[in-house]
């Protein structure tokens, strides 16, 4: 009854993963803040052609969505590697 709904093993990679998460989070905040700041300071810039026929608003907006997905995959790959490396000696690895 007590404890998680699913049993968790000790995770030795938790702190490394958490630091990695924070780093990626900060990178994304900077890019996201850039979008907000440009919209505020120079909204006309958003209407300028940026890549090919697409304006900056479209490229930046799509870019923020695609960046989130790409960074998600990178984070997962790095975390999985950390878990496999650091939890090797533990019995019953996660997953």
């Amino acid at each position: 009854m007590h404890g998680s709904a699913a049993k968790l093993d000790t995770d030795l990679s938790a702190s490394r993963k958490s630091k990695l998460g924070i780093k990626l989070f900060i990178v994304y905040i900077i890019v996201y803040a850039g979008f907000v700041v440009i919209s505020l300071i120079n909204p006309d810039l958003m209407g300028h052609k940026f890549i090919g026929e697409q304006n900056l608003a479209i490229v930046y907006g799509f870019g923020l969505i695609i960046l989130a997905i790409v960074m998600g995959f990178i984070y997962n790959a790095m975390c999985t590697r950390l878990e496999n490396k650091l939890n090797k000696t533990e019995k019953g690895q996660t997953l």
Partner: protein
């Protein structure tokens, strides 16, 4: 406007509901334990959980609200898509794994894991309920709105149908059936939105959306001695000229006994037809001067100029996804802007010619450029919205509980990535669905929420039926998740952990089911009371309250060792109270109360930029003042960190 009921829509909808109910029966036999009821036994596959996340998250506000907002205000509606998706980055990088590590069934469990404090149990349970109820209302209102065109039933019937089905889903098999409903609905929503987008691109851009599209007329004015005395069309006689405070001039004309409203051009030389709804003293409503049944309140939204390679064309033929945007950027379209004429008891929508390039950058809805009259406060409002969207997602209790349905932290992380990919892809599609609705003559000016389903109808009754049934299912999925979260807050956090009621496993599950039943009934009542409320408005509110009440607590708990139980509880309380009060005294709410917007004591609508820091500062101060409490905190709350 008037909707005709499609039998296919009814068949598809009933089939879907029957499947969902059968599934709930099937899972109900397996749901006997508390872990089974609240967390599906922690046995959901991460892939299923990821799509279920999407099904849970993509609520009526995303599908109906955002598409409608893009159709009416262009890129500014799309800002919601960007912000709602960016919020998942916070969830993935910062919140997902610790939440999984610390919690058991609810968000309160995770916050309290380290302290075992009664005040956290109480405040976090209340915060879960407040956020979930704010989120529930627009879903129920949306259900009522949808059922009118889909099944031809009155608004309240839609609310009651959704409420009863959801109570059944949750009360039979809890989180397991909820998860599969959300999985199926999330999958269907993404597949059929993709199909709808393919239709839009294939259709390309054309000046005349369809043969039935209303051709708006313009009249030349006759001016004598500086007075407008008539028009070049003798069938129309001028009844009244109405000047608004904001420099617009409208004219009420009489055409063979039917009153129609026109807008005068800036040079007063021409008059352009408008759409109007007037309320007569006896309460009857006239749509463009005639009873509703005459169907003279047209669906609108059209292009006035399409430019391809520097040449004007009538239609483009099929376009690629990028070509569609760049062609639209060089074109011009007509939006319809609403003006309330209070002394005439009339609402009019005038044709507002808009450059395609303005539709594809921020600024039509939010005033951010100095040219459009931006002030410090309108800019702050914009920042505040972007902040609340970014920080709100990972503080929504009904999203957080989904982390307890998978077996490990790794599975929690993987399902978040599936969710981000699915949701991100869907949000890219919202731009096409919204813009498609704005130029194909499908908009119902009375209800922006119907933009996406009505666009589907333009392409055929088959896809309309499926899209409407999915929109309905969208509401079922989200409401189920909200009710599980609320029932957890009442039965698990409050009755079991806070009041420490003596219950065995069976009694706990029964308490959860009864709580679900109670919240469900409450949601039905609210859904009927709040009829007519904008769907995305209250969801924005829920995000702001969640970001203010829950996020500082989560972040400080994870990253600041000195955080105390009192600090967390007070920050939740301050977050709820400050965000809700700012909203209640905001210009938008004053407009709803029927008071002038300028008289609102607080000049911004979005509270996040004030209430989130306020909650964080409260947490820091109270924690520093109550340091000695931490000597008794539960050690080793999380391992190896």
């Amino acid at each position: 406007m008037i909707y005709s009921v499609s039998p296919w829509a009814i068949i598809i909808f009933v089939t879907f509901v029957a499947l969902v109910l059968l599934m709930s029966f099937f899972f109900a036999r397996k749901t006997k334990s508390v872990a089974g009821y609240y967390a599906a036994g922690g046995k959901i596959h991460w892939g299923v959980n990821g799509i279920a996340f999407a099904g849970d998250y993509l609520s009526a506000a995303s599908f109906l609200g955002i598409c409608g907002m893009i159709a009416f205000s262009g890129y500014d509606g799309y800002l919601y898509s960007i912000g709602y998706l960016a919020g998942w980055v916070v969830a993935l990088f910062v919140v997902a794994e610790p939440m999984k590590r610390l919690g058991k069934y609810t968000f309160t469990d995770a916050l309290d894991a380290r302290f075992n404090s009664r005040s956290i149990k109480l405040t976090a349970a209340i915060s879960t309920l407040v956020v979930s109820v704010f989120y529930l209302i627009p879903q129920m209102v949306g259900a009522g709105d949808l059922v009118v065109p889909l099944l031809g039933l009155p608004h309240w019937a839609g609310v009651v149908i959704v409420g009863s089905i959801v109570i059944f889903i949750v009360a039979t098999a809890g989180m397991t059936s909820t998860t599969y409903v959300q999985f199926i609905k999330g999958g269907l929503l993404i597949i059929f939105s993709t199909i709808l987008t393919i239709y839009i691109l294939n259709n390309g851009l054309k000046l005349n959306p369809s043969d039935e599209y209303h051709q708006f007329i313009s009249l030349e004015t006759i001016i004598e001695d500086g007075e407008i005395t008539g028009t070049n069309n003798s069938n129309y006689t001028i009844e009244r000229i109405h000047e608004t405070g904001s420099g617009l001039t409208f004219a009420k004309l009489n055409n063979n006994g039917v009153e129609r409203w026109f807008k005068l051009s800036d040079d007063s030389k021409t008059m352009h037809e408008m759409l109007s709804i007037s309320t007569l003293p006896n309460g009857t409503k006239l749509y463009n001067g005639e009873p509703k049944t005459e169907a003279k309140f047209y669906q609108v939204g059209h292009l006035t100029k399409i430019v391809v390679n520097g040449e004007e064309v009538d239609q483009t033929g099929p376009l690629g996804p990028f070509e569609y945007l760049s062609t639209l950027e060089n074109s011009e379209l007509v939006r319809f802007t609403r003006v309330e004429l209070r002394d005439e008891n009339t609402t009019v929508w005038y044709q507002n010619p808009t450059l395609g390039s303005a539709m594809l950058k921020p600024g039509l809805k939010f005033k951010i450029s100095t040219r459009s009259g931006a002030t410090f406060w309108t800019k702050l409002n914009f920042v505040s919205l972007m902040l609340a969207l970014f920080l709100g997602t990972s503080a929504l209790p009904h999203i957080l509980i989904r982390y307890y349905t998978v077996s490990s932290q790794r599975a929690a992380r993987k399902s978040t990535i599936v969710a981000i990919s699915a949701i991100g892809f869907f949000y890219i599609l919202t731009l096409y669905m919204g813009l498609g609705a704005s130029v194909n003559g499908v908009l119902d000016l009375e209800s922006s929420n119907m933009a996406a389903p009505l666009l589907a109808k333009y392409f055929g009754v088959g896809i309309f039926s499926i899209i409407s049934a999915i929109a309905f299912a969208t509401i079922l999925g989200t409401v189920s998740g909200l009710i599980v979260a609320s029932s957890g807050a009442i039965a698990h956090d409050f009755l079991d952990n806070y009041l420490k009621m003596k219950m065995d496993d069976k009694a706990k599950v029964r308490a959860g089911k009864m709580a679900a039943f109670g919240v469900g009934i409450f949601a039905i009542v609210l859904g009927i009371l709040f009829k007519g409320m904008n769907v995305s408005f209250l969801v924005g509110l829920a995000f702001a309250v969640a970001a203010s009440a829950n996020l500082p607590a989560i972040l400080f708990l994870l990253f600041w060792e000195k955080t105390t139980a009192k600090g967390i509880s007070w920050s939740i309380v301050v977050g709820i109270i400050s965000s809700v009060s700012i909203i209640l005294f905001s210009p938008s709410m004053y407009d709803r109360y029927g008071l002038p917007m300028t008289s609102a004591p607080i000049p911004i609508d979005n509270p996040g930029i004030i209430s989130i820091p306020l909650a964080a500062i409260t947490l820091v101060i109270i924690s520093l003042l109550s340091q000695k409490d931490n000597s008794s905190k539960v050690e080793n709350y999380h391992l190896n960190q």
